[in-house]
Amino acid sequence: MLARCADPALLEGLPWLMCYLTSGKHMMFYASFGTVLLLLAITAPLALAFGFGGALASRSRIAPLRWFGWLYTSMVRGVPDILFFLFVPIAVDQGLEWLRHKALCDSDAPIRQGNDFVVCAAAKLPLSTDPQWVHEVYGFALAVMAFAVVFGAFAANVLAGAMRAVPRAQLETAEAYGLTQRQVSRRILIPQMWTYAIPGLSNLWMILIKATPLLFLLGVEDIVYWARELGGAKTSAFTYPHPDWRLYYFFAILVFYLLMTWGSERIIGRLTRRLSAGQATLAGEALRKGAA
């Protein structure tokens, strides 16, 4: 990177460390923290949307839709989330390739031949001619999909609970005013449920933060990948030889996560305070008394 880092073998002590920490590989390590934040930024709203759909579906008057909503919200109760992280990306990938195979290939050969999954070259996702970044984006998109499905199911649980918590009398009043079911949902149910949903959703956010290192399992080059890559012992064949430093790298990641959760907790605390102001709840009452 820098000019004085041209020959690290001549450096020692602090200058060596500075050069080491600004090497190209390390820049990719720092950038992978951005990957984690990007995942959080994309997954959170997507999971909320999935959860919203799931919660509404589980209250639907159409029976098959209700069953689907029930299945979706209850699947995360008995099955470990890690299983979904392993299952969803490969299932989605194969599903998409199967659809493209049906549409784009004109061979009648079966897709599953023994232990192989065979589609024609045109149906491959991404195409083998695509540049490297397309493969990476596709892998990341599959990871986002897995996170959105799992956390959508959690969010659906929270939101369904919040919808049940809205006092029945409020909905009945709206019905008595002649609002249709749809209007009741849109104007009363959904605006009113947020107060009840906030504690569950903020909890979910903390769980989501702590689930992000699982990106490593999905084959994305995230912070865990780089920590293992950079921390492993390097012989003198490398520009910066050093013994096994993985412990320090993982310690740095631990500190990163502690900061993330600590900061989130503080922000959520403030948010809860603001939202409970003026509410007819114990927290709101405590705020009122404190101010007086």
Binding site: I82, L83, F117, N203, M206, D244, L247, I253, L254, L258
Partner: protein, 274 residues
């Protein structure tokens, strides 16, 4: 190979008994069901031991946190903050790297050589991490419950002349458990599900002895078909989770047996306490 043969060869494969070689080709459903079920032994081993040991540590931490000793309180606070604030996955990696750094020949203490190599094995190293992790989460739950023990209960205990240890054992602790139990049930289920992470983090599966998800992943990779092995593993976990809910529900009934009209079902709200 018939299904009965598969069963006798592979039912205890995950703890190193029976056939050494895993199936390599011609996978059938029976092999997948048997091997994944065999792996479940490890999930149960981790969950039962971690919950058992963690329960006592958590009680101690909760009491320390509620106590008057500033040093103990700060220590408990710090412990809970670190283990609740960071991902379990990273804790596994960090613990493994730390344990690998221990001298391979063992540590000399008072002339005795204490072997250390067993600590890097999953059965010990991962178990320690799981114990510490569940201790921190349970301590948070127990502390919350301890804070909401009704004042009247304590005053009644005082009036009966109960104090110190006997008051804690007979009044405070049972009430704390009763209040904490629904949340603690959720924690137990979450921990049970978290045991699937062990063999995907730093800890290697010695001689391919892994847990249920390790074998499910093995089959899904070899057959390139996720639609058989993963649902089989999911089925095992659903059954085990229902058993766990039933077990904790009956403890809940016992804890609440003196209360009229109480002690109904524990409503399981997954992970929302974490």
């Amino acid at each position: 190979m018939t299904c009965a043969e598969t069963f006798s060869n592979y039912a205890l494969r995950s703890i190193g008994m029976g056939e050494r070689l895993l199936p390599r080709s011609d996978f059938d459903l029976c092999q997948q069901v048997v091997l994944i079920g065999s792996g479940l032994i490890w999930n149960l081993y981790f969950a039962v031991l971690a919950l058992f040991v963690g329960f006592f540590i958590a009680t101690g931490l909760a009491v320390a946190r509620a106590g008057r000793n500033t040093l103990l309180r700060k220590l408990a606070d710090g412990f809970i903050f670190v283990f609740r604030g960071s991902p379990l996955f990273i804790q596994f990696f960090l613990a493994y790297e730390a344990l690998v750094m221990l001298p391979r020949a063992g540590i000399e203490i008072f002339g005795f050589t204490v072997a250390t190599s067993w600590l890097t094995k999953a059965w010990a190293g991962a178990l320690i991490v799981l114990i510490l992790n569940t201790s921190a989460y349970s301590a948070q739950i127990f502390h919350g419950a301890l804070m909401s023990v009704p004042k009247g209960d304590i005053e009644a205990a005082d009036a009966y002349g109960l104090a110190g240890w006997s008051r804690f054992r007979r009044i405070t602790w049972p009430t704390m458990l009763r209040l904490a139990w629904p949340a603690y049930t959720n924690e137990a289920i979450f921990l049970f599900h978290a045991t699937t992470l062990v063999y995907f983090s730093g800890f290697p599966a010695f001689q391919q002895r892994g847990d249920a998800l390790y074998y499910a992943n093995y089959f899904a990779d070899r057959t390139f078909n996720p639609f058989v092995a993963y649902p089989v593993a999911a089925g095992y976990f659903i059954v085990a989770t229902l058993l766990l809910i039933w077990l904790f529900g009956s403890v809940n009934k016992r804890l609440n047996r003196h209360l009229p009209g109480q002690g109904g079902r524990v409503r399981y709200r997954p992970q929302l306490v974490r």
